[in-house]
Amino acid sequence: MLLNQFLILGAVLFAVGVYGVLARKNGVMVLMSIELMLNAVNINLVVFGVQHGVVSGQVFALFVIAVAAAEVGVGLAIVLLLYRNRTSIDVEDFDLMRG
């Protein structure tokens, strides 16, 4: 089994996630796109771990999953708070700090 195919798959998933983060206006969609990018990284970690015959890659992937869970929890709470205060989750509406 070649490793390149997994690395390419991870690269494509990451690029799709980058597009979603930059282009979508909905705050929840931005968070979902971040999940895509994290999963692309997970694939790379696991496949490099398999390549070297160690389980460290899988351990790191587990940590990434834990961090993703924490990030989603706090991120969605922030989205909820934004919606409560501004009645919108459109990221274009939040430009108060624009200089």
């Binding site: 909905n26 895509l36 999963n39 924490a70 706090v74």
Partner: protein, 184 residues
């Protein structure tokens, strides 16, 4: 041969789901497409002999994180289908496309060009299969990475507290404007 077929099928599932996530008009459809992507990645993990991680992927991501997404989408009532042209930043769309294509090109170029033994080499299978995989993972997690593991629990506690504090409704706080959309 079987490996290749499994990889291609799972990769197709992953990429279809990923495109669905970023292109669907309805956020609920996006969340369901995200489940599809995560299942495809779980299949890849199984193909890579990372059985425990595949189970965690399904349980934590598809079971908990996507449900959290769906919960917030339903709670906010933003599950109406949106016009994709309106729900995408107009100016940034092309910049995002260029940026994504550029990052993809760079990553693919790195994978293709670099002739290190890391890429293009045969994966070492069978070093940690079946129950052995879980045992090795546990041994590594609770010996080499035990401090990181404990810190992760601390991180999760902090995240839970942060989420609760953020999402809590302020009661009679002086100086806070009445919340719009909350009058009813």
């Amino acid at each position: 041969m079987v490996d290749t077929v499994v990889f291609i099928l799972a990769a197709a599932i992953c990429l279809t789901g990923a495109l669905g996530v970023i292109l669907a008009r309805n956020p609920v459809h996006s969340a369901l497409m995200l489940v599809m992507t995560l299942f495809g990645i779980a299949v890849q993990f199984v193909a890579l002999e990372a059985h425990f991680l595949a189970a965690v992927q399904v349980i934590v991501y598809a079971g908990a994180i996507v449900v959290l997404f769906l919960f917030v989408i339903m709670l906010l009532g933003v599950d109406r289908a949106q016009n994709l042209e309106l729900s995408v930043l107009p100016v940034q769309k092309w910049a995002a496309l260029v940026f994504a294509a550029g990052s993809l090109a760079i990553l693919a170029l790195l994978v293709m060009v670099v002739k290190e033994p890391v890429t293009g080499a045969e994966a070492i299978g069978g070093s940690a299969t079946g129950d052995e995989n879980v045992r090795l993972l546990a041994r590594s997690l609770f010996s080499d990475y035990v401090y990181a593991f404990e810190l992760t629990s601390l991180l999760l506690v902090i995240a839970v507290i942060g989420a609760v504090v953020l999402a809590r409704k302020p009661k009679n706080v002086v100086g806070v404007a009445p919340e719009p959309g909350n009058e009813a």
